[in-house]
């Protein structure tokens, strides 16, 4: 995100300072940093709030060392002991998120408006790193390997060893992947991952759920984005704009707590939906719609109204305008609008963990279950599988349509 901010910053602003004989140091502290500060702060707040509401990371890393966070407490209370207390906690989390959002709005919406001043940003100045280039590239490549490739290797390795912690060759086994019965090594005779019906069922559920969410969130999001941009400036467009973004800011688990309370018992004509595929699909759709509507908004903003009007004047109907003009022109961001919900859904835990029952487990909740049981080989192997599926789908879509996740978010 910060990369995007720096890219959009108008190079003229720095050139103007350069011409007035500003030193490098002064340029950094008086021009560059203050200029990007709001955006950086806003990124910081978003990261902060998503960390606040994350569940998966602390529960995998924090559980062994008893590092309790709010989401874990929430899960425990909701899952049994004291649901009332849980709802109160959910409410607190929502309030914190709203507070962060409000603060963010205040930071951005000051007198020093950062967007209206620049007309169009023209030149992009590339910094010539000269001799620093090779070492800097090396360090960056190293960092990328450390944070992206290294965990995968670890997952793979950890899923192959019999006794955790012992990395000798004799301790390696494939039985967690293809063994029929691992009772000898751990627990209740759980078959190896690839032969495990629970895994195949969860995989099927995950894919079914992700595809459903992607289709509904993607389509709805695109239409919402279209509506917001085309109705730009009207009150209703502004309201829809902020409403559509709201689910994004809701901590996932608090969000699902609300769904749990809303749909767990029969009300009026709506039967109890707890444990059904429908409720998972519903919450996924709502939660991920902001991604799709953002990418819909981004792509529609780039598309001049006149392109569509030109079609309208010669009598092309709305549906045909969409399928023949708008969507083909913005194909790649249109596809990202589906891809983002799909991939987020594939790797989502906190949103589903409260609502899943053993019957409709998805991959991530199965992973959580393995982890809770302490079967680290299984959870590592499953983790690896999820990552591979996500990467594969992104690659496939990228290959076939040219869309990719980063384009969707970058905007």
């Amino acid at each position: 995100m910060i990369g995007g901010i720096l890219r959009n910053a108008d190079a003229n602003l720095e050139e103007a300072a350069q011409l007035l004989g500003t030193t490098r140091r002064r340029m950094l502290f008086k021009i560059t940093i203050p200029m990007i500060m709001p955006a950086v702060l806003s990124t910081f707040l978003l990261v902060f709030s998503s960390a606040m509401s994350s569940f998966a990371v602390p529960s995998f890393l924090g559980l062994p060392v008893r590092y309790q966070v709010l989401t874990m407490q929430l899960y425990r209370t909701m899952d049994g002991v004291a649901p009332g207390q849980g709802f109160a906690m959910a409410l607190i989390m929502i309030l914190i998120s709203v507070g962060i959002l409000a603060f963010n709005q205040r930071v951005i919406g000051t007198r020093k408006n950062y967007t209206t001043v620049t007309g169009k940003s023209s030149q992009i100045a590339l910094v010539n790193l000269k001799r620093g280039r090779t070492p800097i590239s090396c360090i960056l490549v190293f960092l990328i390997i450390m944070v992206s490739l290294f965990p995968l290797v670890t997952f793979a390795l950890e899923s192959l060893i019999k006794v955790p912690g012992d990395y000798s060759l004799s301790n390696l086994t494939l039985s967690f992947w293809i063994g029929r019965d691992n009772g000898a090594v751990i627990t209740s005779g759980e078959p190896g991952l690839l032969l495990n019906p629970a895994l195949w069922k969860a995989l099927w559920n995950s894919i079914k759920l992700s595809v459903t969410c992607a289709l509904s969130a993607g389509t709805l999001g695109f239409l919402v984005g279209y509506g917001i941009v085309r109705g730009k400036g009207t009150r209703i467009s502004k309201i829809v704009d902020s409403l559509a973004f709201f689910p994004y800011l809701m901590p996932a688990m608090a969000f699902s707590a609300i769904y749990l309370s809303m749909f767990s018992v029969r009300r009026f004509l709506i039967p109890s939906l707890y444990g059904t595929f429908f409720i998972l699909a519903l919450i996924g759709t709502v939660k991920y719609m902001p991604f799709a509507s953002r990418s819909g908004i981004n792509s529609m903003m780039q598309l001049s109204n006149q392109i569509e009007e030109a079609g309208e004047i010669i009598g092309i109907g709305w549906f045909k305008r969409m399928t023949r003009l708008v969507i083909p022109i913005q194909k790649s961001s249109f596809v990202s609008g589906y891809l983002l919900p799909f991939i987020s859904c594939m790797r989502e835990l906190s949103l589903f963990v409260l609502l899943c029952t053993p019957q409709n487990r998805v991959l991530t909740t199965l992973l959580y279950y393995y982890n809770e049981k302490g079967w680290s080989q299984y959870s590592n192997g499953l983790n690896l599988l999820i990552v591979i599926i996500v990467i594969f789908v992104n690659w496939l879509v990228n290959k076939t349509t040219g869309a990719s996740i980063d384009k969707g978010i970058g905007g």
């Binding site: 103007a16 011409l19 620049t118 007309g119």
Partner: protein, 370 residues
């Protein structure tokens, strides 16, 4: 007050040549406009003078001092060239007040606080923005932002002021006002101004000299009236002036050094000039400014009125000459000829220009329809 010299400046972006072997001598205290269609290399030229862009080859001198030379590997930093730069989109720092924007450059020069205060107040007054020192740029209108940008650029007393389409984001009325003010500023500061624009009217009204570029090539570098009356080629003739110059192609037949007969279909006319005409005529182009097409009672050539566009002060007539030539004509005052009515016109003496087969200026002269 410095002179700016560009010597054989070439700028390539990859294989694309944005500025092609440009040599330009800008005299002390001049107000130069770099004029040309969009993408012809005006901004690139200006940025090279400022030092924001590095020429691929050539030499730039400011005040007799080499500030860039590809051969001698000299590249003086922008801040040491003594130039001010006015950006098209103003480039005001959004997080600083008007006062701080203007004071910033002076602080860099380590001026004393009192001196800075005095200088900023002076500029606020000069540019008529005394009321807004504490506002942020986003709280100003386009015209006011423009004034702040000018004040910021002038604060350090640059000897050269480079401006990149500074008025293009303003509305028509404000643009007129600011033009007059820039002219006043040029007079008051005595600095050398280099001004980029794609608007030929702006270039005509402001400049002491116009530098007309096309696709990176220098087309003409002369005072506005010379460019207007003696365009070096048909591109210049066509680019400068509104409505555009009438350009009609003929085949020529030389009679003697000073006269020739021109044909176009069944139209025949005699061209006479004070100057010696080119040896072989072949295809030539005749150019007549619309204001030199005069409506007359008798003795002219018959034309048909296509449209007449009165605007109060003047009337533009589009006329059909024969079956394939359109002529435009500007008359002072409002007259309204009905479409398809027939009138007679003559071309004003000595104001008719002849261009040779390559489109280069050949000779001025007079024509008579025969």
């Amino acid at each position: 007050m410095p002179r700016i010299e560009l010597r054989n400046i070439t700028k390539k972006f990859g294989d694309f040549v944005a500025v092609d072997n440009l040599t330009l001598d800008i005299k002390d205290g001049d107000f130069i406009t770099l004029l040309g269609p969009s993408g012809c290399g005006k901004t690139t030229t200006l940025r090279q003078i400022a030092g924001l862009e590095m020429p691929t080859s050539g030499e730039i001198l400011i005040d007799g001092k080499v500030v860039f030379s590809s051969d001698k590997s000299i590249d003086v930093a922008p801040k040491d060239r003594g130039v001010g730069f006015l950006f098209q989109n103003y480039a005001l720092w959004p997080h600083m007040t008007v006062y701080r924007n203007i004071a910033f450059g002076l602080e860099n020069l380590k001026w004393k606080k009192d001196d800075i205060d005095r200088r900023v107040k002076e500029l606020l007054k000069l540019l008529k923005i005394e009321e807004f020192p504490d506002r942020y740029p986003a709280e100003l209108s386009g015209g006011q932002q423009q004034r702040v940008a000018i004040a910021r650029t002038l604060a350090t007393n640059p000897r050269v002021l480079l401006m990149d389409e500074p008025l293009s984001n303003l509305d028509a009325k404000l643009r007129m006002e600011m033009r007059a003010e820039l002219k006043r500023l040029h007079h008051e500061t005595g600095a050398t101004f280099v001004y980029v624009t794609h608007d030929q009217l702006e270039a005509m009204t402001l400049a002491t000299k116009i530098c007309l570029l096309d696709r990176g090539y220098l087309q003409q570098y002369d005072p506005p009236l010379t460019v207007y009356n003696r365009p070096r080629n048909t591109f210049v003739a066509d680019f400068v002036g509104n409505p555009t110059m009438n350009l009609i192609s003929f085949s020529g037949e030389r009679k003697d050094d000073h006269s020739c007969i021109l044909h176009h279909k069944d139209m025949r006319l005699q061209f006479t000039s004070q100057d010696v005409l080119p040896e072989d005529l072949g295809k030539v182009t005749i150019g007549v400014r619309p204001e030199n097409v005069l409506v007359t009672e008798n003795g002219g050539i018959k034309v048909k009125v296509d449209t007449s566009l009165p605007s109060g002060m003047e009337t533009i007539l589009n006329l059909r000459l024969g079956d394939d030539v359109m002529l435009s004509c500007v008359m002072i005052g409002s007259v309204d000829y009905p479409s398809d009515s027939e009138i007679e016109v003559v071309f004003k003496d000595v104001q008719v220009l002849m261009f040779d087969g390559e489109g280069n200026f050949a000779a001025p002269g007079s024509v008579k329809f025969i």
